[in-house]
């Protein structure tokens, strides 16, 4: 007593013919119409070849303890300055003011990568001096490891000026990466592992901020401080030093890269095969109709073996 279907499997019917027949031509045409249109559909609907993708990584940033600070103290071009480069300090003469520097790099989530830099500079000033603008250059070493290995020296340049003399400049921002071109997906990228400021040269031009920034911005990979607005606090007590408080965060970066060969092929294959399945199903039905109903003459191999007498 057969109640229900317990198992089934398809039985194959083979259709045979010669090479030079209409059936062969038909099968060739169907082959072309099955395998070529999915490629056209996938390509024409954009995004077939993955040319750019992104990944997230928190970079390994370390403050290099090289700084350069220039503060304008008057409208006639008077300034005070200081840096960690002895050649630059020597060129300053009496404009040199050596500040008290306090630097702290914190790793708040204990993952081995610093997350924040706290910097405090207290610039001593004479009683009659007032600071109207500050230019501060900080250097960092910036490293990425996940896809291509990037090792570079980068900087953050902060500039703020005000028409009123101030007592404190408070900066709070993120150190962001700026890419001109996408990174490769593997390999070592250490072309920018040179110091941003040319040390070892006694000439004043190597400490010229405009030429430093011009050379730095010519790079394909740079960092900048993304700081909405620095806070300029006024009202300095007569003998109090000028305070610069900077807090620089090292956030998680979204980095764009050019995918490698296999990643491109993987995504292209997924797109091609998913459209191919539709065409395969459609043309399978058409071919079954054509050959089962003998629209084109072929010789079907019989299902049941005929007994020869």
């Amino acid at each position: 007593m057969a109640f229900y279907e317990v198992y089934s499997h398809p039985a194959l019917i083979r259709y045979k013919t010669n090479v030079c027949t209409r059936a062969t031509l038909f099968v060739l045409m169907v082959f072309c119409l099955t395998y070529i249109p999915p490629l056209l559909v996938a390509y024409k609907s954009q995004g077939f070849w993955l040319k750019r993708s992104t990944y997230e990584e928190q970079p390994v940033v370390q403050f290099q303890y090289q700084m350069l600070m220039i503060g304008a103290t008057g409208t006639a071009g008077e300034f005070v300055a200081w840096s960690t480069f002895p050649d630059f300090n020597r060129l300053l003469g009496s404009n040199l003011r050596i500040p008290a520097v306090s630097v702290k790099e914190e790793d708040s989530n204990q993952d081995g990568k610093s997350d924040r830099l706290r910097l405090q500079l207290s610039v001593p000033l004479k009683a009659e001096e007032q600071i109207y603008s500050i230019q501060l250059l900080l250097t960092f070493s910036y490293q990425l490891f996940r896809m291509s290995t990037v090792v570079m020296q980068s900087m953050a340049f902060i500039q703020h000026s005000s028409s009123v003399p101030g007592s404190q400049l408070f900066i709070n921002g993120d150190l962001r990466l700026h890419q001109q071109i996408p990174l490769p997906h593997r390999g070592l990228h250490a072309a920018y592992n040179v110091s941003v400021v040319e040390t070892g040269s006694p000439f004043a031009t190597s400490y010229d901020l405009a030429s430093i920034i011009r050379a730095y911005q010519a790079r394909n990979l740079t960092t900048y401080l993304s700081c909405p607005t620095p806070v300029w606090i006024i009202g300095r007590a007569v003998n109090a030093p000028f305070q610069i408080n900077a807090e620089v965060r090292y956030p998680l970066e979204t980095i764009s890269y050019r995918p490698g060969f296999w990643e491109m092929i993987k995504f292209a294959w997924i797109q091609y095969v998913s459209v191919l399945l539709v065409f395969l199903w459609l043309f399978n039905h058409i071919q079954t109709f054509v050959f089962q109903n003998q629209v084109l003459p072929t010789v079907p191999k019989p299902l049941l073996k005929t007994h020869t007498q």
Binding site: L33, K44, F289, N293, Q294, V295, L296
Partner: protein, 140 residues
């Protein structure tokens, strides 16, 4: 015989679909003509390209007339070869010409579709008509 019962309506439907789309292109050819001209084009260039497309569409309609003549007169209605060829060609043409209108393809795409999907079945139709009328073959 049962296969002919499905092949003849299929052929008629695809022929009609292709015909309808060609007539639609007649009315909406402005976008396609603009797609094959540069951004700043002159009236002369526009008229040239427009004329070319109109000629192409008119020749297509002529070939349609030929094929419909052969089909409705019964010369090739029951011929499975011509039926299959016609169905395949006009189906591909309908799909491609829909893309031609919606995606605003350039004018030269029309000539490709025309040569593959209008000329080939029309030639097959002519051959079939010649075989039946002149060589006295049976129209099957």
């Amino acid at each position: 015989m049962s296969v002919i019962n499905s092949l003849v309506p299929a052929r008629f439907l695809t022929l009609t679909a292709h015909l309808v789309i060609v007539i639609t292109i007649f009315w909406s050819r402005d976008n396609n003509v603009r797609a094959c001209l540069p951004l700043d084009f002159t009236e002369d260039q526009y008229r040239n390209e427009d004329n070319r497309l109109v000629i192409g569409l008119s020749v297509t309609l002529g070939l349609f007339a030929l094929e419909l003549l052969g089909f409705f007169s019964g010369v090739s209605m029951f011929n499975t070869n011509q039926g299959l060829l016609s169905v395949a060609a006009h189906c591909s043409a309908s799909v491609s010409l829909s893309f031609f209108i919606f995606e605003q393809w350039e004018c030269w795409y029309y000539w490709v579709i025309f040569s593959l999907c209008s000329v080939v079945p029309a030639v097959g139709e002519l051959v079939q008509m010649f075989a039946v009328l002149c060589l006295k073959k049976k129209a099957m």
